[in-house]
Symmetry: C2
Subunit: 414 residues, 2 copies
């Protein structure tokens, strides 16, 4: 894509009320726009990152048999009354509104109730189980204070999967598969080395422990204790004897971290309340055992920025970058330079962002490329020729010299 065609531009400054590094960088680089506190628009380059993350998550959910669907934002109050979660005293961050005919409705802050009710229409026998269903859907949470940029929004995109099992054995198998898929997701988005499977409390859902996926970051609001290169425990459960028994304690390395995903045992809380039952092979009626598995897609984008950026800007991992490389034409008024850059662009159109701007100086182009964070910068200047073009690695700053054909072959294979 040609940068001159992109309607967004970089900015020197983020809005003054925006204190989180992730939002500051994403706004300055032209990836997101702040609409209100906790509410962001995704601009063309930002949406590409979101779509890349979604593709990775979707592939991993599909691999473990997840069936994708899409539930609405508007919620049927009757369903939430059955589980006791409609009451503002129980769930204090609802957005509620009214349909023109006077019926109260609310904006989905999660989707256990409608999905459990929906599934009850299709499940009657143990033969219909187990299965998992998931969606990418906007959640609305009426936080008193929205903070931390994309980390804690009032409106945000989430992947939520739910598993439905006939037996505890099936449920534990689904839970284990989800855990493995999550480990793969965080590896693929470039956070594998700093993300830990973390023991955590089951919250309001269950007495059983849940697991969070926590990414080390100074911007984190959580504190975890890291045991080895894969596992940790949340500070809330360090006193739990099950957690102590796994070898966790305050003596381990203490880190600030961001919760990028979680997997919960729901037991039969929702299936009991909403009548999701099945007949066993001996015609006994039982409630379906459920699990739920969340990843905040926008939060994950923000976490990548928090964890991997440097003082000059964002550093996208290749897997989620809007473009693999940023092609910089440093002297667009020099015919030879322009022709060489145009030639490279023609071959790599879909893979590179081409800074073809005529009136931007070289220094500005370098600064923008560092801020915007494509993994590689292909630098075409007066000294460049077909056999010698500089390629800078955004992360390490290392510069290599490659021929045009090498660059094309290398990026086309990505």
């Amino acid at each position: 894509m040609k940068q001159s065609h992109l309607f967004t531009k970089t900015r020197k400054d983020a809005p003054k009320d925006e204190v989180a590094k992730n939002a500051q960088l994403l706004i300055r680089a032209g990836y997101v726009h702040k609409e209100m506190a906790g509410v962001y628009s995704f601009l063309p380059l930002g949406l590409k990152v979101i779509e890349n993350i979604k593709t990775i998550v979707r592939e991993e959910m599909n691999k473990i048999g997840g069936q994708e669907l899409s539930l609405p934002a508007l919620q049927d109050k009757n369903l939430w009354e059955k589980t006791g979660r409609w009451d503002d005293k129980v769930v204090d961050n609802w957005f509620k509104t009214k349909i023109a005919n006077g019926t109260e409705t609310g904006l989905g802050l999660s989707h256990e109730e409608p999905l459990t009710n929906l599934v009850a229409g299709y499940v009657s026998s143990y033969k219909d189980l187990p299965f998992s269903a998931y969606q990418f859907q906007t959640k609305f949470r009426n936080e008193m204070r929205a903070k931390s940029g994309l980390m804690r929004g009032r409106e945000f995109l989430m992947k939520d999967m739910y598993s439905f099992s006939a037996t505890e054995e099936q449920h534990l198998e689904a839970f284990k598969k989800a855990r493995e898929a999550y480990v793969t997701v965080f590896k693929r988005v470039g956070l594998g080395e700093i993300t830990y499977v973390t023991q955590a409390s089951g919250g309001v859902f269950s007495n059983e422990l849940s697991e969070e996926f926590q990414t080390i970051s100074d911007a984190g609001e959580d504190v975890i204790y890291v045991k080895d290169d894969m596992t940790a425990a949340n500070d809330e459960v360090l006193a739990d004897e099950r957690v102590v028994g796994m070898g966790f304690s305050k003596n381990l390395s203490e880190k600030k971290s961001i919760e990028v995903g979680n997997i919960f045992h729901l037991g039969t809380k929702y299936s009991d309340a909403l009548g999701l039952k099945f007949k066993t092979d001996t015609a006994e009626e039982k409630s379906v055992i459920m699990g739920c598995y969340g990843i905040g897609i926008g939060r994950l984008m923000g976490t990548i920025v928090e964890a991997l950026s440097d003082e000059n800007g964002i550093i996208w991992p290749e897997s989620v970058a809007p473009f693999k490389a940023h092609l910089l034409c440093l002297a667009p008024d020099d015919e030879n330079v322009k022709m060489l850059a145009d030639d490279i662009y023609r071959e790599l159109e879909g893979n590179v962002l081409y800074d073809d701007r005529e009136h931007a100086r070289g220094g500005e182009k370098f600064a923008d490329a560092d801020l915007m964070g494509m993994p590689y910068q292909i630098i075409v200047g007066k000294k460049s020729h077909q056999d010698a073009i500089e390629v800078k690695h955004r992360k390490t700053g290392k510069v290599e010299t490659k021929s045009m054909s090498e660059i094309i072959e290398w990026l086309q294979s990505k």
Copy 2:
């Protein structure tokens, strides 16, 4: 995909309160689930149709230079007050709610205001124009009565594109390109022959005529007068002398129709109100000229069902079908039949829905396949062998006999 793995099932009956044919068929076939009046969930097969339609629309919007982004549902009241559209007396179908800190907000029923405001942060010169930006986003409209199934929902997915131009000439060029892209979209989704570019009133937006894309259907709420195989006029503008001048009148063929898209001239209504200005090459300050271009994605899915179904069920065009073909194994307990069907499935996994259910009778499988509407049915029964397998065309009922390798080659090439 194996039908035995799909958690949804077909149903004999739709909910009693559902009178629209599109929703009845889509619910019975397991494509959508009704949450509340005017609010539907998209089940795995239904979401595939939605995604196929989105892909076609996205490709055509990208071809004319549209830049995809994503704006939020929660709206900043201040922006809508500037255009006078916050007031319930002016716009009577808002869903409004309050943020925990007391600030009023509303759910986006359209996105002119936030996008105009956003774009104003990036446009300052004629050199920044023209461009177009679009999104696929949920709209919320608080209709007193939600009716017609997917045709008029309270929550629905829409593609809305907006063009931003410096001159009337640029604007008319953008408008013309959008018209051509829309003609292509409706052709590609299988409605080309019954969809008309229709002269219509500019509504509250403009004195200029707008254009609607109207698809002939008995379920339609609109009435159009058809001039030739491409163009028509809405009954609301038949008295307009500009429309008379184009040769439209009550004497033309009158048809009931569904509005599947529209393209509007917005002029400078929004850019004036929200300060979207630019400097011309003579440093004169002017307001940006805007156009807007909508397609209801769910409504388009519903229209395809209304227009192309028959008494046995849905008939998807290949371009939007969840799977190209439905593979029916009529005798799963006959080892040879099962093996042949399994062999075909192995080669065509992503392209076919495989009715591998063990306990469903042949008649049930035929009825389900007709109801669910894949364009082709590959019928594997006791008389089938590698060189002779029946393929039924869902639309015409025509049956051909093909070899297994012919079927595989033919479907893989689709």
